[in-house]
């Protein structure tokens, strides 16, 4: 299997993972108007709870029940939801930029905890020996194709879920009070309750999909969940078109292909740092250019929901 093809498979897999993250972010930020800069923390919670509960070797950590994979996924999801509730209740008392920064702060706290609670998380060493689903079925490099398929299957499922949510009265209410909270409240809508529910649901989802990320990277360390995950997800969403339907997936594909393509450039050993840096430079340039020339992104909210209003009166 040629190196370029394998590389492409990897890029598409990672793009799929970010597409899922971006779709979840689209729900809470694009439709419900909650500018969450802390999603990396929720993914971290999901990832760590997953690996801790499913970890087979348990000499140096205090918690290691060794559950099967499906149980670990559920545990990670529930953990994500609980942490989202804990973060959400206080954070939703502040609005706009303050919410942004509060969520960012919580995510950083989570990351620091993952570094410092070594007896549970193995600190910066992390976990790197674990099995992945179906890995007995396929040999080494073939597994990448399986994971690619798995990830994009989840992309499809999440996309269908989001479509359903977006077109429902719930989704409609979200896009309503996102833009005009007082009017929504004047109609008797308990908007903060809807916000919390959405935020917790997002937490459940981030936690549930974290294992995909873990299986792709093949280790679990605190450096996996830096604010870079948050910012790349946001960039993907913003490029693709926030509050649209197709935007998150389009944005993730374009962003990941463009930034990772830079790594295809072969170079000498001393160039390694430069190459790693090029990714950031490209990421930055793409974001700046898109904001400059097409700040609403590639897909628009209008188009995404246009057909919806048309078929309402039957």
């Amino acid at each position: 299997m040629s190196g370029v093809l394998l590389f492409l498979v990897g890029v598409l897999t990672l793009a799929g993972i970010y597409a899922i993250l971006a779709m979840i972010l689209n729900l809470e930020a694009g439709w419900a108007g909650m500018w969450d800069l802390g999603l990396a923390g929720l993914v971290a919670v999901g990832g760590y709870v997953f690996i801790i509960t499913t970890q087979q070797t348990h000499d140096d950590v205090v918690i290691a029940p060794g559950w099967p994979i499906w149980a670990g996924v559920i545990a990670g999801s529930v953990a994500g939801g609980i942490v989202a509730l804990v973060i959400g209740i206080p954070s939703l008392r502040v609005r706009g930029e303050y919410f942004l920064i509060t969520t960012l702060a919580f995510a950083e706290v989570i990351r620091q905890l993952s570094i410092n609670l070594g007896s549970v998380t193995r600190g910066t060493v992390g976990f790197n020996q674990f099995s992945r689903p179906f890995d007995s079925w396929v040999s080494g490099s073939g597994y990448r194709w399986l994971l690619l398929g798995l990830v994009w299957l989840v992309v499809l499922i999440v996309n269908l879920v989001m479509r359903r949510l977006g077109r429902s009265p719930y989704g409609r209410l979200l896009r309503g009070f996102r833009d005009n909270d007082p009017v929504a409240r004047s109609l008797g809508k308990h908007t903060n309750k809807h916000r919390i529910q959405t935020f917790v649901f997002a937490g459940l989802m981030y936690g549930a999909v974290a294992p995909l990320y873990v299986w792709f990277i093949r280790t679990v360390t605190p450096s996996l969940f830096t604010s870079e995950v948050t910012f790349v997800t946001w960039t993907a969403l913003v490029i693709g078109g926030i509050a649209s339907m197709r935007g998150p997936v389009i944005g993730a594909l374009i962003l990941l292909i463009v930034t990772e393509a830079a790594a295809l450039v072969q170079g000498l050993g001393e160039m390694a740092v430069v190459l790693a840096s090029v990714r950031f430079i490209v990421l930055g340039i793409v974001l700046i250019v898109v904001m400059r020339f097409r700040p609403e992104g590639l897909a628009s909210e209008r188009e995404a929901f246009a057909s919806a209003s048309g078929r309402l009166q039957q």
Binding site: L173, N180, L187, H190, S309
Partner: protein, 253 residues
Amino acid sequence: MSGPILAVHGVTKLFGGVAAVRGVDMTVQPRSISAVIGPNGAGKTSLFNVVTGFEEPTEGTVRFQGDQVTGLEPWQVAQRGLIRTFQTPTGFPALSVWENLMVGGSRGPDESLWAAFRGGWQAADISTHERARRLLDDLGLWDLRDTLLADLSPGDVKLVDFARQLMAQPVMLLLDEPASGVDPGSIERLGNLIRQVREQGVTVLVIDHNIGFVLGIADQVHVMSLGQVIASGTPDEVVRDPEVIEIYLGRSA
């Protein structure tokens, strides 16, 4: 039901050192159309805000249908049937006219996250669709039903706001400047609709600058100035009140 549907007692609202509303007493009888008029800064909108829970009064109480509603959250007040409109028309800009009305008419359970998964909301409310259709017809907005609110003229947005709040099936409706920015033809439609709404049992309280409009539809008029109610009575009585005349002479209302 006997007794006033809305009773405001000694309501004062201070912002810093300034009293937007001072010691206001007001009652509204059920199934009436009342109005609050007064120059800019008289405290009319602040009064509305206190009554509907968007502000907490510094002093005083508000009773709706006999129950204490002072200090409740806006959504709690609204769920009891006390619905208001806002002075600046904005509504839900990303939603169409039809969707705006549907949000107004939707009940809580249908809008929950669970309902979104479970489904079943589509078949639920034929009567809601009917009400929405009739309202849009009455206001001449049926052709605009799929237009996003962001694309409408401010006057049309005003009308949609009114229709949407009506969809929430209010027991009492508080209208904040419903006629401002609306073209004369639509003002007449608006007046008819308000009378129609009253026929259906809804009590209406209106704030507006358009004295002609107000005097044409109101049974009771309260005049406010500098945070206090200075006159109450029928339109004829109020128009002849010397204090009221003094306020409106030499001041652009």
